[in-house]
Symmetry: C2
Subunit: 243 residues, 2 copies
């Protein structure tokens, strides 16, 4: 949902404003006419943007009652656009922990399946992901992109459409997660070894081992985040500089 044209641009801006909490019960969405003025757009373009956000669970429009932001539990958080908007402007350690928690369940499941059903092409993609991570370690590839490529390859290799669907979600989450936790400083080597254990298990068809290796990998990431947060809390208490 890039700003390739006016409608998409409005959807983007409005989407960000909504998920960052600009509108609520006491500060509702302006009526169509005002929104048109605000974005300098016609009703057609604006209404189409609003309909896109409605489809993603962010808005609800009814005649005479106006257009309202839906309660947060109706937002389609698994939609990469929605998740992206949320992450782009609103840093939240809680959110980071929450999606690492769900990755802790999902990715081992995908790895287990992948070990059972992955074909030659899918296995090649996983192997290639590991190679890219190794290349990144030598400075020949991007560490973030290669990491994401590996996790996406595993999800795809599960040959399950719902896991495959989570690639967009995972890629967005991972990009944000890694950027904010900002690893790649010495942890890299150990991390590659852990990733390689997962890959080896999948390639060898050892389903249980693959799941377990993936679980450990993500559990480590979760522990790291929690430790960091605790640390920052301590610093805040001590009056130190924490973000």
């Amino acid at each position: 949902m890039q700003g390739q044209n006016l409608t998409y641009g409005i959807a983007n801006e409005l989407g960000i404003e909504i998920v960052t909490g600009v509108y609520s019960a006491d500060n509702p969405i302006p009526i169509e006419a005002q929104l048109c003025r605000k974005y300098g757009a016609s009703r057609s373009a604006l209404r189409e943007a609003v309909k896109m956000l409605t489809a993603k669970g962010l808005l609800d429009a009814r005649p005479r009652r106006g257009t309202w932001v839906q309660p947060e539990e109706k937002w389609n958080l698994l939609d990469p656009d929605v998740l992206g908007w949320l992450l782009e402007r609103k840093y939240s350690p809680a959110l980071l922990i929450e999606f690492t928690e769900i990755r802790l369940a999902v990715e081992p499941g995908a790895a287990t399946l992948a070990a059972r059903v992955a074909g030659p092409q899918e296995k090649a993609a996983i192997r290639h992901g590991i190679e890219r991570m190794q290349a990144a370690d030598r400075g020949d590839d991007d560490p973030l992109d290669s990491d994401i490529a590996f996790h996406v390859a595993v999800l795809r290799a599960s040959r399950n459409r719902f896991y495959a669907q989570l690639t967009g979600f995972t890629a967005t989450a991972l990009r944000f997660s890694i950027q904010t936790t900002n690893r790649y400083k010495g942890v890299q080597l150990a991390s590659i070894a852990d990733h390689k254990k997962v890959a080896d298990a999948i390639l060898a068809g050892r389903a249980v081992a693959a799941g377990e290796a993936m679980r450990k990998l993500i559990q480590e990431a979760l522990d790291l985040i929690c430790k960091r947060e605790a640390l920052q809390a301590t610093r805040r208490l001590a009056g130190g500089s924490a973000r």
Copy 2:
């Protein structure tokens, strides 16, 4: 996305046609003017419907090139609307297996978390789900609804927004799953006992046990589906009446 008004009705119809494979590379979506005629709608209403489907990953429209169905891997399968459309018209054992597979990873994860963090209200909802299942067994409640209520309560009790987001998905999937596998014929009692084990573990705060109990529960459902499918395959081979 009910047919509350014209635009939503068009989105529904078109959505079903798309996911059931009416349109493809060799049979592309008609141009706007033709679609308007087909649905007896104005361009405004039609375009708004198309934009909703675009937001859900089903369509992509560009000037001069027309509007095309996106490749299936871009469909937002975790969106309850999209999943519902897929299930409503297109029975698919493969799909049933696939979403039971992902439930096998997700729901134990949610149960584990729930055991750690569920508050009084969330615990009450889980207890109530069990009570409803028991009531259904006596004929005093709906077996399908009570089953769904229990699983939804566990997801919510995880206090994780991404798990909570999957309630819509799970409810849709479960409704379809149970209807087609059509249990509730003697299996019921054993099923309630298994559900109660999950609930007890969560209520007692035994996280690992809760996850494991949930895993067993869903693994049983998965085995049942696979056995059924194998059975039907056998019948088909034997020339018997399948489905």
